[in-house]
Amino acid sequence: MKMSDELILLKVFRYDPSTDRAPRYEEYQVPWRDGLLLLSALKYVRDNLDETLAFRDYCCGCSWCMSCIMMVDGKGMQTCSRPLKPGERLLVEPMRGYPVIKDLAVDFGVTIMTPEGAFKKMEGTVIRKEKVDSY
């Protein structure tokens, strides 16, 4: 297997409302290992490549709590239960429909298990609703 096939390439949405005028995307390469999950890959990025990356970590780690939901290639999913294949390239963005606090961390507002409820709009935040193409 070629070395490049063993790297995961993540294109990640970055936005800090306190300093950035507009969101941007950054690319990170994460070494693949057996059993690597997308959320663990993001933790790898934060621990080793960019300590400023913000996202909500797992709470349960069992695909119950929805804390780690994000848009992956345009599809909402629980990143703690998304295994990665060697050489995969993924676009990772904050969950659609919620205000962005920073990077991949969103404000879930008052709803919890039922996303179809009202969410509070926070000032100075971006709410992503548009459809995005996959990476």
Partner: protein, 567 residues
Amino acid sequence: MRMKTDVLVIGGGGAGARAAIEAAKNDPKLSIVILNQGPIGKSGLTSMANGGMQWVSHPDDSPRNLLEDIIQVGCYLNDQNLVEVLAEEGPKRAEELIKWGAKMLPFKGGKGGGSADTPPGRPWYPRSHYIPGVTYMAALRNELERHPNITSLEDVIATKLLTTDERVIGATVLNIRTGEFILIEAKATVLASGGLGELFPHSTNAPFGMHGHATGMGYAMAYHAGGELIDMEMVQFTGNQLYPSWLLGNPALLSSMCGGKYVNALGKEFLKLPQPRDAIQRLAHKEIKEGRGTERGGVFIDLTLSPLSSVEIEEQLKISLAEEIAKERWKLIKAMSVNDPDPKNWRVEFTPGGAHFFMGGVRINERCETNLGGLYAAGEVSGGVHGANRMGGNAMVEIIVFGARAGSSAAEYAKSVNWVDPKEATLKDENERLCGFFKIRGVAPRTIMDKIATFMAEYVGVARTETDLKKALSEIESLRANDLPNLRAPQGRCFNLGWVEAIQVPHMVDVAEMIVRSALLRTESRGAHYREDYPETDPRWLKHTRIKKNMELSTTPVIITELSPGE
């Protein structure tokens, strides 16, 4: 920013949420603020709990039976006034939770939902019930929202308890979303900040590795405020899964729920259930230490020997994983399970030493009062309920039983006192202290967390000795001298998780030191605290270790109301 509230609740897990609800019900005129490190229901440990709960529900069973079991499993180190409360109020609080919308799943197969760790020789009653943490928290969250006098602050972390004259008068709080500080003045404060599993490298509190929700902040905040903590040596360990690598949380469930047998590398069954959790850990440790472990350094839970059929095991697994909620996880487990989807063929390897629960903590009485005025504690952060070893299924009951009591006591106290204005400089000082972590060069908090986890596992695990514990102390001294002064957080105030970790790390060092010093003091083996150099239980040690400010150690009597050792 400044806020004033009658009751402040620190922690939005089961204990904190239940305390806030009870305080709100006590008097609709009271204002209650509840703090949580993430969104309530999406953070903390209650949501991640598999959901086993035990309370008395069988007509032949009684609170007295349960009390006797709890005290025997706890090796008589429980404060019995607290055990009485737990055994008697469990059914009422659980019923209430179900009424609020928590979903109880039926138990099938096996022994029909008994407690796996009933002490050997004791009569066995079916007492286990099953409410997955996520529906448990959904019910509490819904109930929180029904009370207009409760304000929930999410994505916040309390950094310090404010005191004056042995009384807690509020707390300073970091708003993680904005990086701003809030000073909250409170007439009464309930500490419900949970446990400390993340001091250890493997913990069921953090199945993917550390994530910052069980760092023991509450113990350290109480300690710095002048609180009394007891039995800080009592860490409950469970199996840590080695292979296969898919994550089950607590592999012990494969035995207690699915009938798997504990087998060593030679294929010999080395223990039979029911056994208290500490005994399982010690026996597994012994097998490995004496050379009967696997190449990976573990032992097996062998499902091929289970009396249950493939279909029954799968049903039990689905319950233990709340498969109907965790569909993605279930698919993943099936996909990754050693290439054999039939659980009847699984042999799961584990090592002892995964931190599961912490029995010690802030000393409380049956009204959840602490030694500090205006400070109440409930849940894992409190000590004394479980003694030297917790029975399975008691944690999820403890938090609602004592959460409700803490909320009620705090409300009553709040009605009888006034606010005390903290010193003008308080917020400025805390701001300066915590912004001091923003440095260009230095040691990342994660580096220190990893060091803590490494020496805690090596020297303060399942089997302890004076030599090892002293090595741990010198590691702590080295951290204090070399690493903590250079602790550095990444730049930026908004949602800066590295900064949150930097705030937690010095507290984690304090808590590690409390554990090590208490473990050194207790020169006997009792429950989860096993000293290889003092392997016997010593009746003279039937007392709590106690630790106060400046690591001042002493002992204090256990409260015995019902059952003396030997009865």
